[in-house]
Symmetry: C2
Subunit: 306 residues, 2 copies
């Protein structure tokens, strides 16, 4: 079985870009034609999320390597939303996309292992069937290890929160402990895990391990600092677009071959019909706005070589 990083590298090289489309189906932002379910009609809203996400996937599958469903928006609708989350993951995979579930899960020992077993593993290895997931590091090494082990066993990957893109992220992550900020302590540990999980059986994938890091685009200096400190860690970079990050801000996340990072854009792509520059499509042609916004972002990221 190819490792996650091998599959991610191949996908980025094939699509020639590192755009990660975030599937964040906020009901109030859906194209009006899909907003037919009443408040409290969880099943109806979940069905709308399914239709919407599959339609986004149809547009972006030929263009980008990977999509990221945000678990929270599906979970907001209760079990009906979770059923649709699973459907969306499977649909994306059948369309040839890699899937990163953004759930920021974490717990200790066998409880963490339960999350990992639930989400990580494609082709029937797990019920949710994702290629990778985001993980929160607050509980420390023995809460991360079950996710790392599962990643190696199933050819999956994780992205650990290191430096997040929200203003409040600095409150704890930037506290200086023993001479360096907390996020650097987390970063150094994640880099160790990445080093330990490099896929040595294949040259494709280069020097990256199965453990990645979430590093926000709203802090370009920290992005450059962490790129240098974490040479074996693939980055998931949120904060592009709606959160204020621009192409120049994310450039330091990539290596010389345009690899080593995927940059997330959620609202800026999936709700592009609401953006001034794509108003010409109108709400009915919202999928064309999605395609135009995706192509625009693809052109803004550093070119992929190799």
């Amino acid at each position: 079985m190819p490792s996650f990083i091998q599959r991610l590298t191949t996908a980025v090289q094939t699509k020639r870009n590192g755009v990660l489309v975030g599937l964040d189906p906020r009901y109030e932002s859906l194209p009006p034609a899909l907003q037919t379910a009443a408040a409290g009609d969880y099943a109806g809203r979940a069905a709308a999320f399914g239709t919407f996400c599959r339609s986004v996937i149809d547009v972006v599958a030929p263009l980008v390597p990977i999509v990221k469903p945000q678990a929270a928006f599906f979970e907001e609708l209760g079990p009906a939303g979770m059923v649709v989350l699973c459907d969306v993951i499977q649909y994306a995979r059948t369309r040839g996309l890699l899937v990163l579930v953004d759930g920021k899960r974490n717990d200790i020992g066998t409880t963490g292992a339960a999350y990992a077993a639930g989400y990580l593993g494609i082709d029937g290895q797990s019920p949710w069937g994702a290629d990778s997931m985001t993980v929160n590091p607050y509980m420390g090494s023995d809460s991360l290890e079950p996710f790392v082990q599962r990643s190696v066993e199933t050819g999956s990957g994780i992205f650990v929160l290191v430096k997040t893109s929200n203003p409040g992220g600095a409150q704890f992550q930037d506290l200086v402990c023993d001479g360096k900020p907390l996020y650097r302590h987390v970063a150094d540990y994640v880099e160790q895990l990445a080093l330990q999980t490099i896929d040595t059986e294949t040259s494709n994938g280069g020097a990256y391990g199965a453990v990645g890091a979430v590093v926000g685009a709203t802090y370009p200096a920290q992005l450059a600092e962490l790129r240098a400190a974490m040479p074996h860690t693939w980055f998931l970079v949120p904060g592009y677009g709606a959160q204020g990050g621009a192409a120049a801000d994310v450039a330091p996340a990539f290596d010389a071959n345009g690899l080593g990072a995927v940059v997330n854009n959620s609202r800026g792509i999936i709700f592009a019909h609401a953006r001034k520059e794509y108003a010409k499509f109108g709400a009915a042609r919202w999928q064309e706005a999605v395609e135009a916004a995706t192509r625009q972002m693809m052109s803004e990221l550093p070119p992929v070589r190799g």
Copy 2:
């Protein structure tokens, strides 16, 4: 609508104990009669979880104030598990128990708000319908605020991870930053949030706010330190029983009235039939073992006054 802390206080005073029964349905540990589903039969295993949890709830509902389903074990079974998680929450509520969903969720802004809207709010206010949930603080203040706001609006509560009970918890939580460990930085912020969310309309509930803290029982000195530092913060104390914490270790978590804390026990109660001291019941009478273990723990915690 009564606040969460008012309802929790009343429940602890009525049941005369602060035992929190953790619903962690590990398939391999279920009573043998319930282990009839094959590996990979997620729906069958989820059904067994439902039967098991409802049977535990039947035993403990007259005895304890609150139960805590661990989301990870349900999530491990995919959407089928999540459907049963929701059923178990509802069943516990119909049996008069408060429900704390242990999912350790967190995310920024409107994404965090989606988790909060999904889980927090009883009697039709939310699809999962829980009284409270656990939350991870790594992403900082603007990731916690949506949960706090939702708690106040719906008479719910949250418990923020401060000092966890696992060995690896020290890796980041004990790092000393600006003269105090990270967990104290988190603790001081959580105490502020607790102070801001005190239910002033009722005397029942005393001086506690809607924002609580998770503080492990495996570190009694830190438990005493944090009790003193966080006088308005209700504690959820994990680590009792299977994780090594004993009655003397958790005593510092309580105030003089035996309030201010609930102590979790999962495996030690729900899988009591596997404990040497309850072997006399045999696997078929596993519910009697659950009752005996629950009553044993009730007798070990400090008495409740008032």
